[in-house]
Amino acid sequence: MNVTKNEDQITIALGGDFTSDLLNDFRTAVQKEIDAGNISLTIDFTDAVIIDSMGIGCLVATHNTLKQKDGTMQLSNVPENLKDVFKIMRLDRIFPIN
């Protein structure tokens, strides 16, 4: 999990598939940013090929958490196949996917 900061924008790079193995690291990273008051997060999907149910649940939960605090979440560098999945699940209506 690689977290970079550019101006006010925090980018969390997954660095691999978004599956249950990644879950704890991801939660920790997100929680750390939120605790630090950073509520505008970008999740970088470079190198992700697969997302499992836990990954999707985690994304939705992160979105819900940030929204509660008036923050935003967006996805970046999403590979085409994952983008298709997100679109079919209509997740693109919930948060921006780039």
Binding site: I51, S53, M54, G57, A61, T65, L82, R90, L91
Partner: protein
């Protein structure tokens, strides 16, 4: 359980050959539909619809997405046609014909079909459906239907038009309630796999993740991610749980009004019973149970007439006008997949069971005779050997005949494509042409039928292009406005004849001959000496075309000679007869089969020759002792008197320039024959 994992080559092959079979009949049916115009023969439209439908269904299972999409768009047009929302006209039929052509193309190249671009066809087809949408359906583009569960909760809203389109063509609407944790994650699957599987089985109309149920990071660990999918599919409710890998209670049937069908809790048992209305009631009729007939039906499809008096305990849940169309639609929809498509389209692979059985019998006979023969040989029983020999002889001939029968194919498989050819050409050339086909049932050897395709196509095109005149010219010449081409096949003297006759302007024998002279193909002496028929036959020579204009249809001068060489290859003969201004008749004579040519074997020296038996009129055997009596010499040549006539004898060896030899009957040694 993903369907795609089951796919092997055999399934694909089966799909391809089945699809091509469906497509073979479609052209003819579409032309029939075109002829009928607004007066639609539902049976024919339904047949085409079902063909498109099963193409789509199969493509879905095999993940041939491009084929599926094209078939689906075609199906939509056909559906509107049978609902009389589109009246067929040549333009629409053109689009359908072209789309089916493309479909055939895609199926023939199924492995690369998903990369093919079908936009051109899809756009044309979609334009048709939207342009002809009924006014109320056009209105429905903007209105939405809430998808409502029986507990009254609305899952999401779907544009009415999407729902109507998806429901068309024997599709069932399902609302799937996957829990991404319990039904997906705990089954070792990813959401991607689930979606892929559903897309293979049907069409996804709308989906939703219930994000509120997921909660936030602060809540307890996520234990449920409800994921709703509204899909349309041809799969039957009874097999849906297996295919979708989802418990029955999470698969809800949705009606046209967006409401869940059936009562909550009982939905599954009812829907499972629905597709199989078993004859159970008949057996129960004898027992006196008055309440029996009422129970199942009204709950599933509430009918406004029956509801008030019969089921006072529960009023129909939907407003009165809605259920009627639904009831009408639901009934045929369930029957359709069960109906088998007409299967009289003969293909090379189909052999009638009768024939197969007689083959089996003959093979059995053969084995028996062989056993008898083996036994007779071991016992040196000359009489039995002779008998079994005769038996085997008989059986072998019959066996050969039966096997030949399996190769016979009706010529209709070639003839059937010509109505389309003539139609397309008459449109292009602004002519009116009636094609009359007779003798489709005449059977020929498979290889001959296949080989006839090109030459016949060319001849038909020639007749339409150069033979038949435009309506104006025809009327001026006092002929009926529409030209006529007759294609006829019939048996004659152990051969098959094919005749192509048109009532066009005929061939100008003189002009053909002049042209041949001009091109130096004949000398001016020949030109003068030739008969009309001989001059006509010149058209079969290479690079002689008398067409004034080279059209994109024919007339490039590479036609008739190709036709002739093709027919020659098939062992056939071609004759042309034509009357200026009256029309042309082309007659092709073909052997029934090429596979077997019964021949007489002759040996000269080291060489062996086969003379086809058709060319042998009589065999006369002259024993060595009789040679002197029976063969006479007249001058230099040998003759043989036979039934009062002198038959000249020709020695094969000297004709062919072979040194003949003979075997001395006493010593058995071979030596050169004396002169």
């Amino acid at each position: 359980m993903s369907m795609s994992s089951f796919i092997d080559d055999e399934t694909l092959q089966e799909y391809i050959s089945e699809s091509l079979e469906h497509l073979a009949d479609i052209e003819q049916d579409l032309l029939t539909i075109e002829e009928g115009g607004a007066d639609i023969d539902e049976e024919v439209v339904n047949r085409v619809f079902r063909a498109a439908h099963s193409l789509k269904g199969g493509a879905g299972f095999l993940a041939l997405d491009t084929i599926k999409e094209l078939a689906h768009k075609i199906e939509n047009v056909l559906d509107m046609m049978r609902n009389r929302e589109i009246a067929p006209n040549p333009e629409i039929i053109n689009i359908l014909l072209n789309s089916f052509d493309k479909l055939r193309d895609l199926i023939n190249n199924s492995d690369t079909s998903n990369e093919e671009d079908i936009d051109e066809f899809v756009v044309a087809l979609v334009a048709l459906t939207t342009a002809h949408l009924a006014p109320d359906e056009q209105a429905s583009v903007s209105s939405v239907v809430p998808i409502t569960k029986n507990d009254g909760s609305i899952v999401f809203e779907v544009p009415e038009i999407d729902l109507a389109q998806a429901k068309k063509g024997a599709q069932t609407l399902y609302l799937l309630e996957y829990d991404l944790i319990h039904d997906v994650y705990q089954h070792g699957k990813t959401p991607m796999e689930i979606i892929k599987n559903v897309m293979d089985l049907g069409t996804i109309i709308e989906t939703l993740i219930d994000i509120d149920r997921v909660g936030t990071l602060d809540d307890a660990p996520i234990n449920a991610i409800p994921f709703y999918m509204l899909i349309s599919s041809i799969i039957e409710p009874i097999v849906a749980p297996d295919f979708l890998d989802l418990p029955t209670e999470k698969i809800l049937l949705i009606g046209n009004d967006g409401r869940q069908l059936g009562e909550s809790g009982q939905t599954e048992t009812q829907t499972q019973a629905a597709p199989a209305p078993t004859p159970a009631p008949t057996s129960a009729e004898t027992s006196s149970e008055p309440a029996q007939p009422i129970t199942p039906e009204p709950k599933e499809i509430p009918s406004p007439e029956a509801a008030p008096p019969r089921t006072p305990e529960k009023p129909a849940p939907t407003p009165a006008p809605a259920p009627t169309p639904e009831a009408k639609k639901a009934a045929p929809a369930k029957e359709e997949p069960a109906k088998t498509e007409k299967s009289d389209a003969p293909t090379s692979l189909r052999v009638s069971v009768n024939l197969l059985e007689s083959l089996m019998t003959l093979a059995g006979e053969m084995v028996l005779s062989r056993n008898q023969l083996l036994q007779a040989i071991s016992q040196q029983d000359q009489h039995s050997i002779k008998l079994s020999g005769q038996r085997i002889d008989l059986v072998t001939s019959e066996l050969q005949e039966a096997i030949m029968m399996t190769r016979m194919q009706p010529i209709g498989s070639v003839f059937n494509k010509f109505p389309r050819v003539v139609r397309d050409m008459s449109q292009k050339l602004n002519k009116e042409i009636n094609l009359i086909i007779t003798g489709k049932d005449v059977e020929l050897d498979k290889t001959i039928v296949e080989g006839l395709n090109d030459p016949l196509t060319h001849l038909i095109r020639n007749s339409a292009d150069h033979g038949i005149e435009t309506p104006e010219i025809r009327i001026a010449a006092g002929k009926p406005r529409a030209g006529k081409i007759e294609l006829k096949a019939y048996h004659e003297a152990g051969q098959v004849n094919i005749e192509i006759t048109d009532d066009g302007n005929g061939l100008d024998a003189e002009r053909i001959a002049d042209k041949a002279l001009e091109k130096g193909m004949i000398s001016s002496d020949q030109h003068k000496a030739m008969s009309r028929k001989e001059k006509m036959a010149l058209i079969l020579l290479p690079s002689l075309s008398t067409a004034e204009q080279v059209t994109d249809v024919s007339g490039r001068g590479v036609g008739m000679d190709v036709v002739k060489s093709n027919i020659d290859l098939l062992g056939g003969q071609i004759e042309i007869d034509s009357e200026m201004g009256q029309g042309t008749t082309i007659k092709i004579k073909l052997p029934l089969t090429l596979a077997i040519i019964p021949s007489l074997l002759v040996t000269v020296g080291e060489e062996r020759f086969a003379v086809p038996q058709v060319n042998v009129s009589e065999l006369v055997r002259i024993g060595a002792a009789q040679i002197k009596e029976r063969i006479e010499r007249v001058g230099d040549s040998e003759v043989m008197p036979l039934r009062g006539e002198l038959i000249p004898l020709i020695r094969l060896a000297s004709v062919l320039g072979i040194q003949s030899s003979l075997i001395d009957p006493e010593s058995g040694e071979e030596r050169e024959e004396r002169g």
